[in-house]
Symmetry: C2
Subunit: 380 residues, 2 copies
């Protein structure tokens, strides 16, 4: 059975396929094929499996078609999208399985203006275990707005206002209800832009970081050790660099503390080549379920009292302070012209409080956490 | 009994007096006397009354000394501080009188580094009527940090990094518990800075604005009419200008809506002269109690349900979005070197929620409010 015949069976697929295959940018008219620049490039034979089915809100499933065997290797935006869709699918299933009350994710799919990509956002709200969790895959094809082009030039990119780009990324934030379960955030993205002289520039960015409200040293150690193993396979010394990046990026400067206990964080990743950089990003993204689910399983039945809940809500206030004042992703979202604003605020905590001059008692578990947030540790 | 003898009786006064009278800036060594630049200026006889007593947390009172009759008119920073202290005192008493459970304001007094001013902050938290209310008077004497000097130059001020300044202001935000009672915010400030060529530049700024969660058209009309009357006395047409300013300033651009239903907002106010500009600011500040207290009395016993509470908390989420992303006061606070960070976040709502893609039902009272926030009205 070919891809085409499946499209007829499941009409929803047509739309999805269109968005995915519309790699041709409307402004430039050229197909985004990262291989086209390589001299002597021959289409690679690649037997790839279909992406995961997408569960619709009415309980039906949308299947993605199987590509015919022997079709050339898809371009990097397509490969990245396939990969993060799978990660999204597995994470959504894994989180739903943890919900004790049977709460399910809701799918919010948004097509941007014709041909400029789409957003596939799964959101679970008011669960027993997860107070708010969102896992979104976003594909955007557009031209750079002035401010973003300027920021990219400041980072050394040869781009201009109006340069056509494609960005493909996954972004996720999980706010558990139980203060003993840490919150987690990750995002991985691929960015490709046609520069001034027509050359294609691309890079990967992203990271995974943990935000506990109560510190479990064993958890922190395990979390960072796993990340270190993944980084070591990619490049010796990269974990140390990415951990430092992470601590420095997630600093709430006006409070002189970090948002959480860190993880890894990188941007403008192009080394050693596209294939290996992609392999690294893939292993990071695939590691989220085995990194996080054990922490949920371990802590989700722990009892908590109103003091602990209050502390969690205060820390969530700091979370939103960071996101709105410092986060580049949020700033990008607010400046971009193809933003779906609700998706920018998907990361906002479900509930937060601010109390004037709240200070944890000396020697308390809350103070223990603050110690680590004020003096980030090398965990692995 | 002279001021001095009182200082002996109440030792707390000494500190306060010192801070107030330390108008001499440590860097410049010159006394801040706005009159000193006026040719032929004669000290004016002015019989002024003492400032209001300050209630300490232990239940005792700190009295401010009476100035001897016949003493010269104090300089504008001192007059401004006296005036806003009185406004602060009256508002604190008026709000406490509304509390049904007897909750009281707590005083948080902070002396900045020696000679650089102080902050007198009254905060009431977890009241029955007011979930969080803060009224702060702040006096700061320092030199301009680079970023702030730059912003002021962009606004046409002849200042430099390191120019000595004094700022005296009152700032207040009240977050009531009952969603039927609107939140209110106001701040009034006087700013004086020694320019590059040694000349003194000064201006007033501030405003009062209302943030209801449910629209009461009669309230809105009364609120704006009173402000219009005050403005009309000052300058014909100024209300219209300040109301437009207010709507445009309190716009949450990424949501395409305003934070509340507006009020007045102005900055760089120097006309027609210092005395009349001060008189205007004084009448605005003194109007807060008669503007707001009737709304509290009218609505505080209204019943509310969980839907209305949720709507209030969602709107409070928008409140913090505005404050952290757009508010100049917050930005100034985060950039300033003499900031007390907890005071910057005093304005943060006590509790806020974010729900993905929450939309009020068409025709509901929530939708009615949104209509006004999306299309600001001329109320008076």
């Amino acid at each position: 059975m070919t891809g085409e015949s499946r499209v007829r069976v499941f009409p929803g697929v047509g739309l999805l396929l269109m968005a995915v295959s519309l790699a041709a940018h409307s402004a430039s008219g050229s197909r985004y094929d990262v291989n086209s620049d390589r001299p002597g490039h021959q289409p690679e034979k690649y037997y790839w499996r279909p992406g995961p089915p997408i569960k619709n809100n009415d309980g039906t499933w949308t299947f993605q078609p199987r590509t015919s065997i022997g079709e050339p290797m898809p371009d990097m935006p397509t490969r990245m999208e396939r990969m993060i869709r799978k990660v999204q699918f597995r994470l959504v299933k894994a989180l739903e399985a943890q919900e004790t009350g049977g709460k399910k994710f809701q799918l919010h799919r948004t097509n941007r203006t014709k041909g400029s990509g789409e957003s596939v956002m799964y959101v679970l709200q008011s669960g027993d275990v997860f107070e708010k969790a969102g896992v979104g895959v976003s594909v955007a094809r557009h031209t750079l707005p002035p401010k973003i082009a300027q920021q990219m030039r400041a980072r050394g990119k040869d781009v201009d206002e109006g340069s056509p780009f494609i960005s493909v990324g996954i972004s996720c934030i999980i706010h558990p209800r139980n203060p003993m379960v840490p919150a987690i955030h990750f995002n991985y993205r691929y960015f490709e832009v046609k520069g001034r002289n027509g050359s294609t520039q691309w890079w990967f960015g992203g990271g995974t970081d943990l935000t506990p409200y109560y510190l479990d040293e064993g958890d922190a150690l395990a979390f960072h050790s796993t990340l270190k193993k993944i980084c070591d396979k990619y490049e010796k010394g990269s974990y140390e660099k990415f951990k430092r990046n992470c601590d420095s990026y997630f600093t709430i400067a006006h409070r002189n503390e970090t948002r959480g206990i860190g993880g890894i964080f990188f941007d403008d990743l192009t080394t050693p080549d596209q294939k290996l950089a992609f392999a690294f990003v893939k292993s990071c993204a695939k590691a989220v379920v085995p990194l996080y689910l054990p922490l949920v399983r371990k802590h989700k039945y722990y009892k908590w009292n109103s003091t602990e809940r209050k502390w969690q809500l205060i820390r969530r206030g700091r979370y939103i302070e960071f996101n709105l004042i410092y986060d580049r992703g949020t700033k990008y979202g607010l400046q971009s012209t193809v933003t779906i604003i609700e998706n920018v605020f998907m990361a906002a905590p479900p509930k937060a409080i601010w109390e004037y001059k709240y200070e944890p008692q000396a020697g308390s578990r809350e103070a223990d956490l603050m110690e680590v947030l004020r003096h980030p540790r090398d965990w692995a």
